[in-house]
Amino acid sequence: MIEDSGTHVKVIVFQIKDEEYAVPVHQAGSIERVMPITRVPKTASFVEGVINLRGVVTPIIDLRKRFGLEGSKLDDTTRIIIVSMEEMDVGLIVDGANDVLDIAEEDIQPPPEVVGMVKEEYIRGVINSNQRLLILLNLENVLSQDEVKELHEVER
């Protein structure tokens, strides 16, 4: 919605390891502190489990694991960002929620060829905001159902 209106995108900036990532604010429902997570057996390794989000059982993904890094250590700064995709809510574990920024559309650059560890298909673009480098995530791909299902098959 906000993107359509023209030149600015509001994003939530969060930390994973040493990098800063961003998701559009309209895709984020809320930011939660860490709460007890119930493990769900036989799911993809990055599926941390489910939480009780105000009465709704909500799945939680560890973004570190999703990006192929070692799993998160939960502490005071750890946050769960609840994102909504196609009416389905999923929580993302991040190392810290840092900021909400207004990004000019023209500051979003296509993903560079080499982006280190994170697979390119998760990235929608790179934002250079006052010398701060943010990686704008493509949530559709981060949460891609197909891949989750494939993982199910493999693990069985």
């Binding site: 769900v40 057996p41 036989k42 009780n52 199910h152």
Partner: protein, 679 residues
């Protein structure tokens, strides 16, 4: 107009109207002289047509229109109701239903309805000769002047303007009868009037017009300097205007003729329904209003999406969890004011809880009311005489159950009509009344709802059932000898069993009663059969009031809590390690003479090892049909009622987990799908 957001509402309301048409038509069949029923059918059809047209479903609107014409003929006593005509109307209702279903499935609702349309048309044309729209119109015009009760003030205005050489007109405007926003059209018409001159009076009064309390036609007294044709053309430019007629109005004629015409016009009004509603609007309207109001009071409801109720329920559960915590804290603190407040809150939230739960309850009527029509059709197809009795249609149960229970009931009713109740001839031979009785009965008892389908037909022949069961290898001969009557009757619901000698059109659809049984069991219910040879049979179904609350056994597997549905548990047991045997490299135990394999949940669920192995196993013996398995857990917590929640789309299809629930401490526990663990 973007109509997508209204689509759901449209489908729901269309279904409701079709259902009410169905019901009323059945009533009409038994009392064909009751024109009030026709009126109700007509109104439903009319609303349906309007909605369909607005939503752009032209086929649906057209067919409804045709049906409406026939109904209109009936209403005006130009067509006599008989069952041939009703058959055609029922057929068109079927087509309309199919169209609405088509729309509900996301398609356009197009359908080949030529046959029905031709039939409807044939009925209609029998009476069409006499009916002349024009005739109605002319009566209207000649009587137009009498529609107004002109007070002194208005009369003075009219007289003065006449003297000033302005034109006084009676303008009669007809709005197309499929127009949905009549008030908006009226507004636009009045805009034109105001631009042209001044509206002295209108019939019905302006407020009534604004509230859409008129049929399709209204009249105004207009004072203007413009010519009648100009005014007429301007109004015709507004869309959805059917017709405009303008006549000169002379106030002096009016005062003279008023008293003389009084009697004559009343007679005409009674004859033409169109004139009736506009004609003597003054005395008529209050009555109509009252009528409507009475209905609204009786049925003051609001349509709420069930998802929203679910959200409300979720939030409320959270509140209940916090309430528990508050109660605990207030007990620890032992502060009187705090205690009082918490107690009051507990009471209020208890009331709230029961209200939220009852909000999801709907009368079983919603399912039952489609049966009279079905039974009517079936008894004709089968050439049987059936008297259908419905009892307890107001019994309420949760929406989730209502949605699931319809199909099994249809199956059982078909079965009763086809195999149960005999043909009139056979019944006479047996000395029974030729008319068979089928009874549908629903009632509450405890936390269950019971539905009974009983007939006074042939009953079940014990020996024949046993013969068939043996020949179909459902049971062995030794087993057959020891079966009670009830057990024998229940054999007909085993898979691989069908009592029908020949497959009939009605119930022989390739699925047997085993499907019914499975459906009901999957809903957490039970079905039983009782029968008396040549006296009839009773199928009784017991269902939980709601599917969203289930009883579970909470268990611990290492540090994790899981819930196992009680419906699949036989019992729990402690088994000493040395009693565990090995069969084919699998651990099994002897449970009442049966060899039952053990399933270690901590291995299935790959639970991180934290606890030392105890000297004995805690085992939950579960069953799936005839097969059993023992689930090994670390400890039992106890039995509990929990609210069933889904894991969501993202985690759908997780192995051996059928859902989740939220425990009293706010944490999530997973519900074990015992069926997938028993091989």
């Amino acid at each position: 107009m973007d109509t997508n957001q209204y689509l759901e509402l449209f489908i729901d309301e269309s279904k409701e109207h079709l259902q009410s048409i169905n019901d009323r038509l059945l009533e009409l069949e038994s009392s064909p002289q009751d024109l009030a029923i026709v009126g109700e059918v007509f109104r439903s059809a009319h609303t349906l047509k309007g909605m369909a047209a607005t939503m752009g479903f032209q086929d649906l609107a057209n067919l409804t229109h045709k049906m409406e014409n026939v109904l209109d003929g009936v209403r005006n006593q130009k067509i006599q109701v008989d069952s041939a005509i009703l058959d055609v109307v029922f057929d068109s209702v079927d087509d309309l239903e199919a169209m609405v279903m088509d729309i509900a499935d996301g398609r356009t609702g197009e359908r080949d309805v030529d046959r029905v349309v031709t039939l409807l048309h044939a009925i209609e044309s029998q009476e069409a000769a006499e009916e002349q729209d024009g005739a109605t119109q002319s009566i209207l015009q000649s009587n137009a002047a009498q529609e107004f009760e002109i007070d002194e003030f208005a009369a003075t205005v009219l007289e003065q303007s006449h003297e000033q050489g302005l034109n006084n007109y009676v303008v009669s405007v007809s709005i197309r009868d499929d127009c949905l926003l009549k008030a908006a059209r009226v507004y636009m018409v009045f805009e034109v009037f105001e631009a042209a001159g001044e509206v002295v009076q209108s019939s019905p009064a302006v407020e009534e017009l604004e509230n859409e309390q008129f049929d399709t036609t209204f009249q105004v007294l207009l004072v203007t300097s413009e010519e009648s044709d100009d005014v007429k053309n301007k109004i015709l430019n507004i869309s959805e205007i059917d017709d405009v007629s303008i006549a000169m109005f002379d106030i002096r004629d009016y005062t003279q003729s008023q008293s003389a015409n009084e009697t004559a016009s009343t007679i005409e009004r009674e004859e033409t329904p169109a004139a009736l509603s506009q004609g003597n609007s003054k005395p008529q309207l209050p009555m109509e209003k009252q009528d409507k109001k009475g209905k609204q009071v009786a049925n003051k409801t609001i349509r709420v999406n069930i998802d929203r109720l679910d959200v409300l329920m979720n939030l409320f559960e959270e509140l209940v969890i916090d309430r528990g915590r508050l109660e605990q804290i207030s007990n620890e603190l032992d502060h009187n004011d705090l205690k009082d407040t918490v107690e009051r809150m507990a009471r209020v939230s208890g009331d709230l809880q029961s209200i939220i739960l009852t909000m999801r309850m709907v009368p079983i009527e919603q399912v039952f009311n489609r049966f009279p029509r079905m039974v009517r059709q079936l008894s004709r197809d089968l050439d049987k005489e059936i008297d259908l009795q419905i009892l307890g249609a107001d019994t309420e149960l949760d929406r989730t159950v209502i949605d699931e229970i319809g199909d099994p009931l249809v199956h059982l009713i078909r079965n009763a009509l086809d195999h149960g109740i005999e043909s009139p001839g056979k019944r006479a031979e047996k000395g029974k009344p030729t008319r068979g009785t089928l009874q549908l009965k629903a009632y509450h008892s405890g936390n269950s709802v019971f539905i009974e389908i009983s007939d006074d037909g042939a009953g079940i022949h014990r020996e024949r059932v046993i013969q068939k069961a043996i020949s179909n290898r459902v049971i062995s001969e030794e087993q057959a000898a020891n079966l009670s009557d009830k057990q024998v009757y229940e054999l007909i619901m085993e898979s691989g069993f069908s009592t029908a000698e020949t497959i009939s059109d009605v119930s022989g659809r390739g699925v047997g009663l085993d499907v019914v049984k499975n459906t009901i069991e999957s809903l957490g219910g039970r079905i039983g059969i009782d029968s008396d040879l040549n006296r009839g049979s009773v199928f009784s179904i017991q269902l939980p009031l709601t599917l969203s609350i289930i009883s579970v056994m909470l268990v611990e597997v290492q540090d994790e809590k899981y819930a196992i549905p009680l419906s699949s548990i036989i019992e729990t047991a402690s088994v000493k390690k040395e009693d565990v045997m090995h069969a084919h490299n699998k651990k099994v135990i002897d449970f009442r003479g049966k060899v039952v394999p053990l399933v270690f949940l901590k291995e299935v669920f790959e639970t991180p090892q934290t606890l030392e192995e105890p000297p004995y196993y805690s085992v939950v013996i579960a069953r799936r049909g005839e097969k059993m398995a023992g689930f090994v857990v670390d400890s039992f917590i106890g039995q509990q009622e929990v609210v069933l929640k889904s894991l969501g789309d993202y985690l759908s299809g997780v192995f051996a987990i059928s859902g989740a629930t939220i425990l009293g401490d706010g944490q999530v526990a997973l519900i074990v799908d015992a069926n997938t663990l028993i091989k």
